[in-house]
């Protein structure tokens, strides 16, 4: 120890004139850094109440609650997060995982209140001084995600491999792919409400993750007895509302359903679904038409012990699923797999039996209840000049003929009118037939709706183009030109708008902008109507009809004749999943009716 040790510490006196570093009170309330994790804000209009913030919160600080003024609707649970600042640790994982990016933290951090309850609040609903503040914690960067936002690509046959044959072109997921895709699900359950059949979607996706196909199949059959079919051609309304789809690709819910159904061999169904023995209650129900609604109703009724008989006019059961949807989308063996299982439960399907009014009266007498699900099999015509020519066809008739293996006219040039999925089906079917016959495709498909308004699934339009068809949306058909008894083509005019201000169908045209599509054959595909000519007249008188000629039914699909239940496309749709849903609903209704019938 020397003199230095005595003097050096006094150098600290050098700081005596320094500016004090302690802050005066008014400066304590300084602005936090722009990235600071302070108080929550939520854009309640963007928020869909998916509850991922609640799921990830390790402190249970977030609870989803009902909020006055916000109703549950399609794609929105109607709930909003309530944060409890007695529990929150401001980790901001709720922000990072938010599917809509509506939940954020501001850099505000001072909140003084003597009421402890006030620290439980619903951001965005309970007004706070920091609402709308930009600075604070947001999801960090576009590459930063707590769940994968990119869909696992479904492998398909290349256009040149698929465009001349009717073999299924979607290959289906492998186990690895399916599990990877299933991993993306955030289990919010928004999809359940949107699915007409209210399928347990997060549950069966979880089964895929767990590689438990038996559990997956059980979940599927709880609400849907046609999983192979739905797994291929469902209109997947669930995917439209998938919360992951708000910033990223929605889950491939449909392909995952198909994956489960594909994995389980048909012979194991009875074992897995525990349907080896079913108690019979000796009551009989008849179904007219063997489409998804009838099959679904028959399936659930037979599980309840009813003896079900389905009457089908055509050669094979399945209705529009078999005769409307082309084989490349839905192979016939997959339809058979689902229907065979339903038959194996004791459901009788009598084909080649058209029900007329006489037969219908017999059904009324011989059965305890009757369900009709005869769908929409009458094609609608545009009724433009020339549409009565013999080479103007209805798409639905041609699709049926193709399934039945009949020879149909395949000319070199075809024009198709329509912008829905059926129009795409006939476009792609005709394209395949043309390529087989001529080695090239010359099809023009035109619709009133413009590109972004077309009712067909986007992928259908893209794939039809890949297969060589020209899709020309936004043209209104005016006249089919016929010279010497032969079709020359279709005159069209530009469409200005399809719907009016009240969203009613009321197309407006620009008559000056014209076009002409050459054709040897015109196919109309602008919608279908129902055919209930088989109902006896006296019954029709007793039945009540609503707008657009649809039968009036109650919640359980019971018509004004108490023994008669109606479902399928005749009621809502047209699509398979609605048919399945209302077949199930009608089965419950029939059971109620027959249980209470004296």
């Amino acid at each position: 120890m020397g003199l230095k040790d005595l003097i050096m510490p006094f150098k600290a006196w050098g700081h005596v004139a320094d500016k004090p570093v302690s802050l005066p009170k008014k400066e304590i309330f300084r602005e936090a850094a722009p990235r600071y994790r302070g108080f929550h804000t939520n854009d309640v209009d963007v928020c869909i109440g998916c509850g991922t913030c609640e799921a990830i919160c390790e402190n249970n600080a977030i609870v989803m609650v009902e909020v006055e003024g916000i109703e549950a609707k399609n794609g929105d649970s109607g709930l909003r997060p309530m944060v409890d600042y007695g529990r929150c640790c401001w980790c901001a994982f709720c922000v990072d995982v938010c599917t809509t990016h509506s939940l954020n933290l501001t850099n505000e951090y001072i909140w003084v209140d003597d009421d402890p309850e006030s620290f439980k609040f619903i951001p965005g609903v309970d007004k706070k001084s920091w609402d709308g503040k930009e600075d604070g914690w947001h999801k960090p960067g576009p590459d930063y995600d707590l769940y994968p936002t990119e869909r696992v690509k479904m492998e398909e046959l290349a256009p040149e491999e698929r465009d001349s044959s009717f073999i299924e072109f979607v290959k289906g997921y492998s186990k690895e792919q399916a599990q990877k895709e299933a991993d993306r699900c955030v289990e919010c359950g928004i999809c359940i409400n949107t699915c007409p059949a209210h399928m347990g979607i997060p549950e069966y996706i979880k089964a895929v993750r767990n590689d438990d196909m038996q559990e997956g199949l059980r979940v599927l059959y709880e609400t849907n007895p046609l999983p192979e079919i739905c797994g291929r051609i469902c209109t997947h309304k669930c995917e439209d509302v998938c919360s992951v789809g708000h910033h990223g690709d929605p889950l491939s819910i449909r392909w995952l359903k198909r994956y489960i159904a594909d994995q389980v061999p048909a012979e194991q169904y009875h074992e897995i679904l525990d349907t080896k023995e079913i108690y019979k209650n000796n009551k009989k129900v008849a179904m007219v038409g063997s489409g998804p609604a009838s099959l679904s109703a028959a399936y659930y009724l037979s599980l309840m012990g009813y003896e079900c008989t389905i009457y089908e006019k055509l050669e094979k059961p399945g209705g529009m699923m078999r005769y409307g949807i082309p084989e490349y989308r839905l192979p016939y063996d997959q339809i058979d797999k689902d229907i065979d299982y339903i038959e194996s439960l004791g459901v009788k399907i009598i084909c080649n039996t058209a029900v007329d009014d006489k037969k219908f009266k017999e059904l009324e007498e011989n059965y305890d209840a009757v369900f009709i699900g005869t769908g929409l099999h009458l094609g609608r015509s545009t009724r433009i000049p020339g549409s009565d020519h013999e080479h103007v066809f209805q798409s639905i008739d041609l699709l049926r003929a193709i399934t039945e293996g009949k020879e149909i006219m395949v000319p070199e040039k075809v024009v198709i009118i329509g912008g829905g999925n059926v129009a795409m089906d006939i476009t792609r079917s005709m394209a395949r037939l043309q390529r087989k016959k001529y080695g090239k495709v010359q099809i023009i498909t035109t619709s009133l709706e413009r590109e972004n308004e077309m009712p067909a699934d986007r992928e259908e339009v893209v794939e039809a183009r890949e297969e060589g068809a020209a899709i020309k949306p936004g043209w209104g058909p005016k006249e089919i030109e016929i010279v010497d008894g032969k079709i020359k083509g279709l005159h069209v005019v530009k469409v200005l708008s399809v719907f009016d201000e009240d969203h009613r169908f009321n197309p407006k045209f620009d008559e000056n902008e014209k076009n002409f599509f050459e054709a040897d054959m015109v196919i109309e595909s602008i919608g279908q109507g129902m055919d209930i000519s088989y109902l006896p007249e006296e019954m029709k008188e007793k039945l009540e009809f609503g707008p657009r000629g649809r039968l009036v039914i109650n919640e359980y699909h019971q018509s004004t004749l108490d023994w008669l239940f109606v479902g399928g496309d005749m009621v809502v749709g047209p699509d398979v999943i609605h048919g399945i849903a209302n077949g199930h609903k009608a089965a419950i209704g029939i059971d109620h009716y027959l249980q209470n019938k004296k």
Binding site: A33, R35, Y36, F93
Partner: protein, 391 residues
């Protein structure tokens, strides 16, 4: 002439070499140091038995902070544990983040982006800087020298400001996440960091003058809490405490992780470990950390992603396996042992921090024979962090 000290009234050693303390003789006083006291951050007690002002027996008591972290881990998702693991050391939470995230990444076979490695190293070194700023000068505080503590705390606040910018939090950063980090450097960060480092450097020199060129500090800190070389293996001594006895133990050098093999640094050692030298080693660590942060800022790549894609955090299943991950915290080797059973939650996590042996076993030994006034100094010189003992 030196008068030999009369030790007859002090307890004598028994056959096993331990002091025989007969409380019934009423010659000794029991004194509890803690659970709240200036010796360490957090709550821990030392039960002291005194003969006069000399400690003849010391027993550490923990249990004041037990929150059952390791059990909590087993009941929470991997991502949720991130917000829990940091609380195992309040003073330096970042080491917890690092070992936890790296253990998950190792088990899940995830390689983090290059940029994330640099950002993680930056976070770890900034954490070390703020801890050392507080504790180096804090050593003087245990002898009543408060000036350095105030400087240190002020400097630490400046580092916390930079943390706030970078991570969104001041004390608990939650910046790392399995797969990378949660944000890039903000604009202009490097310059503001450099300003802080320049200011800190100035104070580091002043702290040197204040402590190590100080007659009082020299007189009091030298020769107390002496650790012998043979105690190193016996007590599992790591980090700067081991370096103060001349053993170059530094995980960053011995088992380089992140980008530490790209940095130039040479940990300082001394060959005599008392409170003075342990403090001196930490002062050199402080200087080295400032230099390392500069190297990191210079070497940091400008572009690149900061988080690798990872599976869905809400049900991320880590494949079955076990791993041990270590890092060099400001206190020494900080390790986490993780067992995954293929489910969404860890099967078992065990944390091994240096405080466990340093504060429980070693401290009991070091305190015997020390003066009551030096207890705090010895405790601070070991830089104990009680939550890390009570996991």
């Amino acid at each position: 002439m030196k008068i030999p000290e009369d030790r007859s009234k002090y307890p004598q050693k028994g056959e096993d070499g331990k002091l025989i303390v007969d409380m019934d003789s009423h010659k000794y006083v029991k004194l509890w140091q803690g659970p709240n006291h200036p010796g360490i951050t957090g709550n821990m007690s030392v039960e002291l038995t005194l003969a006069g002002d000399e400690i003849v027996e010391a027993k550490t008591h923990v249990g004041y902070l037990h929150r059952g972290f390791e059990k909590l881990f087993e009941q929470r998702l991997y991502v949720q544990n991130l917000a829990t693991c940091i609380r195992m050391c309040v003073a330096e939470p970042d080491s917890n983040e690092y070992v936890y995230c790296t253990a998950v990444e190792e088990l899940a076979s995830i390689e983090i982006p290059e940029k994330a490695k640099w950002l993680r190293a930056l976070q770890l070194e900034m954490a070390r800087l703020q801890v050392l700023l507080r504790t180096v000068a804090g050593q003087g505080g245990t002898f009543g020298l408060g000036v350095g503590v105030q400087w240190g705390m002020y400097m630490r606040e400046l580092v916390l400001d930079r943390f706030e910018e970078l991570t969104g939090g001041r004390v608990y950063h939650m910046y790392m996440i399995p797969g990378g980090v949660r944000g890039d450097l903000p604009d202009g960060f490097k310059k503001r960091m450099e300003d802080v480092l320049t200011q800190i450097e100035k104070y580091i020199d002043h702290i040197y003058n204040l402590l190590y060129n100080n007659a009082v500090f020299n007189k009091r800190a030298r020769g107390i809490g002496v650790i012998e070389r043979d105690m190193v293996e016996k007590y599992g001594i790591v980090g700067y405490v081991a370096r103060s006895i001349g053993m170059k133990r530094d995980v960053r050098k011995d088992y380089p992780y992140l980008i530490y093999n790209k940095l130039e640094f040479d940990p300082f050692t001394t060959d005599y470990s008392d409170v003075y030298h342990r403090s001196l080693v930490r002062w050199h660590d402080l200087k080295m950390t400032v230099d390392m942060i500069r190297q990191i800022m210079a070497g940091m790549p400008d572009k690149g992603i900061f988080k690798a894609p990872t599976p869905n955090a809400l049900h991320w299943r880590i494949p079955r396996g076990e791993t041990y991950v270590r890092s060099e915290s400001s206190r020494g080797e900080y390790g986490m042992y993780m067992v995954a059973d293929g489910s969404e939650k860890p099967r078992r996590i065990n944390l091994r921090g240096p405080s466990y042996t340093h504060a429980i076993a070693l401290l009991e030994d070091l305190l015997v024979g020390a003066n009551i006034a030096d207890v705090n100094a010895i405790m601070v010189s070991l830089q104990t962090c009680p939550p890390e003992i009570e996991r």
